[in-house]
């Protein structure tokens, strides 16, 4: 015959084990909730600092075939180069919204912008920007005009712009707009106003 106190001790131990198991499972679920999904490839928002400024973005409208100026409040860093990159990323976010009037791929991004004195800027797009861009003269030219005019109006001193894709020169954006030449800012502004 097993002594009664021994039975009570074993039962208490079993209860403790079950309770610990339940607690462990609960803790694991809590940890899972806190961890970001491993497969998420969403770009991390860039750490911007500096005061919020009102800027004018030149937003393409496919249906009208024109650029429309739009005011936006965005935080801009102090450096010219970082400021230029933030400007164009803000423009890209408009094109990546659902139902945009000039849709661009969600994977499209600005790799970097180089400001070279005197008056030259180089916009380096990522490969997805060009590879997934809609093919057609109107659509491609609107994209080019929109990037250049937004940059030139908000970052003073830019007179001409080159566009690279993935750090390299590329013949066309998506089969039409010629990217091999430098774009004259004044000419683009005149073209956009026509």
């Amino acid at each position: 015959m097993i002594p009664r106190h021994l039975l009570i001790g074993v039962a208490a131990l079993l209860l403790l084990v079950v309770s610990m198991g339940i607690y462990l499972r609960h803790m694991r679920q809590q940890v899972k909730k806190l961890e970001p999904p491993a497969a998420s490839l969403s770009p991390v928002a860039p750490p911007t600092s500096g005061p919020t400024e009102t800027v004018t973005l030149y937003v393409a409208d496919d249906a009208a075939g024109t650029l429309r100026p739009r005011s936006a409040q965005i935080p801009l860093p102090g450096g010219r180069q970082q400021r230029a990159e933030e400007l164009l990323r803000a423009l890209l976010r408009i094109y990546q919204e659902p139902g945009a009037a000039h849709p661009l791929s969600p994977d499209a991004d600005i790799r970097s912008i180089y400001l070279v004195d005197p008056g030259a800027a180089v916009i380096d797009l990522n490969a997805a920007f060009a590879d997934q861009h809609r093919s057609g003269i109107l659509s491609e030219q609107l994209t080019v005009n929109s990037l250049i005019e937004t940059l030139a109006v908000n970052v003073p001193g830019i007179l001409r712009v080159n566009i690279l894709v993935g750090g390299q020169t590329r013949d066309t954006l998506a089969g039409h707009a010629d990217l091999t030449q430098s774009f004259d800012v004044l000419t683009i502004e005149q073209a956009s106003n026509q």
Partner: protein, 476 residues
């Protein structure tokens, strides 16, 4: 580079009430083939899909299904048998030439007359008839009266004036050779080969040809002394615009063909008198169907590529420009690959008066006209221009052409927009240059393959270009 079809290549010419065009003929296993899509596209709305082994095709409301390597197809739900197998190459269906006279009526529902040995295909009642009338005066005149306006290429060689009818559905006068009872103009002969008809007038003296009766009559006459100096020397070809008289003079005849004494045929109406001697050159327009071959351009639908729309559109524009007195060089007349530099070089070498690049897009409505996005520069100081800004000196005239197209289309209530674009090879050609982008019409994306819609657009472009021909440096 296949900027223009060479004389050695085999071609088939198709004449129909809606379009006249030429297609390359391919040889496969000893048989002649032609692309089925290319054949049907100018005639109506065509869509197709292929998995490489089977080809499903819809022409207007007619469905058809073909299998690669098979001689049996299904058209309108009924079997159709080829004499040699149907082929599929790069998702492109090839039909044997010898089946066209029975195959096409199934699709078109109209009569088709295919002159296989000459590779000339007549759809419906489009044939142009010819009659001859000889005036034995001094100098003698041979009037060739046609049942519709014609536009042959005229050239000369000793003892012969040759007219080649490539785009005119001229049909045989009933006999291959007609002899005249005249010591100077002795004979006319008709032949047809490789998609063209040829009419030769044989004479013992230099000849000249002039148009009259709204190009329905060509008067061939011996050259009177003193008029040769004003004509084009040698064997050069010279033609006029639709309303302008043209004249060719031949060099002195070196041979003397034998004249038979058969009486000439007569026509009911005497031809108007030949106009005064004067030489006109047809201005050359270069039409460039963008993309092609490996380079498909924009995917307009799941099955429709931009390169196919631009080719059909270019053929129609060629026809419309030719009707308005232009010679036209089509930079590609088949599904071939050309680089942008090759296109620019071909246009520059041709020394055309205008370059028109054709594109298509599913975005927006109507049409868009583009000029080169270059800063306007002053006149060039030398004979050489930088390759990337060769267009700069011609840009002001390019903008005049663009404005004329916009004005013409708006008059016809056709939605149109003009703007500059950084588009090659516009920047690299030194003559006035524009790009046209055809967008859907009121019926949506299906308009891009509609012969009527394309025809209307092409006619408007040709009207506008003709209206500014004096600004292109063309002598009237």
């Amino acid at each position: 580079m296949s900027a223009a079809p060479s004389a050695d290549e085999k071609h088939i010419s198709v004449y129909s009430p809606v379009a006249t065009y030429t297609l390359p003929v391919l040889e496969r296993a000893g048989h002649e083939y032609v692309g089925l899509l290319e054949l049907l596209e100018p005639l109506g709305r065509v869509s197709s899909e292929s998995d490489g082994r089977r080809l499903k095709l819809r022409y207007n409301a007619v469905d058809a299904e073909f299998a690669a390597g098979k001689t049996r197809a299904k058209i309108r739900g009924r079997d159709f048998d080829f004499s040699t197998p149907f082929l599929i190459e790069n998702s492109r269906g090839l039909v044997p030439l010898n089946s066209l006279s029975t195959l096409l009526p199934r699709f078109l529902g109209t009569t088709v007359n295919f002159r296989e040995s000459a590779r000339r295909l007549f759809i419906g009642d489009v044939g142009i008839q010819i009659s001859f009338r000889l005036d034995n005066g001094s100098p003698p005149r041979l009037a060739l009266n046609f049942s519709a306006p014609v536009n042959p290429t005229i050239s000369t060689e000793p003892g012969k004036l040759r007219m080649i009818f490539k785009r005119d559905p001229l049909i045989s006068p009933g006999t291959q050779s007609i002899s005249f009872a005249n010591k100077v103009i002795t004979q006319a002969s008709y032949s047809e080969n490789n998609g063209s008809a040829e009419l030769d007038v044989i004479a013992n003296e230099p000849l000249m040809a002039s148009y009259s009766n709204n190009r329905k009559t060509i008067v061939v006459s011996a050259v009177e002394p003193g008029t040769v100096a004003n004509g084009t020397p040698g064997t050069a070809t010279s033609q006029s615009g639709p309303q302008n008289p043209a004249q060719m003079s031949t060099p002195q005849n070196s041979g003397s063909p034998t004249a038979s004494q058969n009486p000439p045929q007569t026509s009911p109406q005497p031809p108007p008198p030949a106009p005064a001697a004067q030489t006109f050159h047809r201005p050359l327009a270069v039409v460039d169907p963008a993309h092609g071959g490996e380079e498909r351009g924009a995917a307009l639908t799941n099955t429709l590529a931009e390169k196919d729309v631009t080719l059909g559109f270019a053929r129609l524009l060629r026809h419309e420009l030719e009707l308005r007195g232009f010679s036209v060089l089509l930079l590609r007349d088949a599904d071939t690959t050309l680089t942008l530099d090759q296109r620019a070089a071909a246009a520059n070498v041709a020394r055309a008066v205008i370059y028109i690049s054709l594109h298509a897009d599913s975005l927006g409505r109507g049409a868009r006209v583009y000029t080169s996005l270059l800063p306007v520069e002053g006149p060039s100081n030398g004979a050489f221009h930088p390759w990337n800004s060769a267009q700069a000196p011609a840009l002001p005239v390019s903008k005049i052409v663009s404005a004329a197209i916009v004005a013409t289309m708006r008059k016809q209530e056709f939605p149109v927009q003009a703007s500059p674009a950084s588009l090659r090879p516009l920047n690299n050609v030194f003559m006035p240059a524009i790009a046209m982008e055809l967008a859907p019409g009121p019926n949506g994306i299906t308009d891009l393959t509609s012969a009527n819609y394309q025809q209307r657009t092409a006619a408007a472009i040709a009207d506008a270009v003709a209206s500014v021909r004096d600004r292109l440096g063309v002598q009237q």
